[in-house]
Subunit: 120 residues, 2 copies
DNA sequence: CAGAATCCAACGGGATACTG
DNA sequence: CAGTATCCCGTTGGATTCTG
């Protein structure tokens, strides 16, 4: 059969889908935060240490964004002083493959850079 | 055997790797550009249409960034008027799995949003 | 056609100080 | 502890105009 095939158009839906994802995981930090919480629930202060280089203000904002999109949830513990735990939702957990793929590429990229340095 | 196991530390290397990737694919557009060029080589003007919403200035800058990191290459064609083709490098092609994963998540996310709208 | 130049607005993100 | 408020800067990104 003669399937007319438009390569550019067939690419467009992928571009759109990528934009959708990047709109939600925009900025420098969201991927890392999600990856952290995929690993285990964490407190605000833990995340601050674990997500290397993030400031308190930005962490707050990013956590809110992720909560709005139902990727994580915020749980206030009945303690004094107050303690808050952030944990990944079931939906957020669907990002695990994505964060793994990104981390894998980052690691192989780092290896490539390092081996390039020793050669060149 | 008694393998001491630090969950936070085991997460850190992943966070680092994610940061590495995001440093290279930062901004709103690079993932989409790479995905386009993974699909087929394109001209500047094609990319401008295909990467929906990007401006000329930003496209230029992003293409330069990607070229510096050896993910794409710029080929000037011997024509008048001048024509330039951008194509993915072998190394850039290693991002194909990543862009596919991101696009897959975006599509399922869109479905989820739409079905949520009809319900709610 | 493929950009470079310019101008400008908006956002991202850091530092610090403060609050319940 | 878990933020919020404020200030401030650099970058991102859009619109438009100009060039070889």
């Amino acid at each position: 059969m003669e399937l007319k095939y438009n390569p550019v158009k067939d690419c467009s839906h992928k571009i759109l889908a990528i934009s959708d994802t990047m709109d939600i995981l925009n900025g420098k930090w969201k991927m890392s935060i999600v990856a952290c919480l995929c690993y285990k629930p964490m407190r605000y202060s833990e995340l601050l240490k674990e997500v290397n280089g993030i400031s308190g203000k930005v962490l707050s904002r990013e956590l809110k964004d992720l909560e709005i999109n139902e990727l994580i949830e915020r749980i206030v513990l009945n303690t004094a002083p107050i303690a808050v735990e952030y944990r990944i939702t079931e939906y957020g957990n669907s990002l695990k493959e994505l964060t793994n793929t990104i981390a894998d590429w980052g690691m192989s990229h780092r290896k490539r850079i390092i081996s390039g340095m020793t050669k060149g």
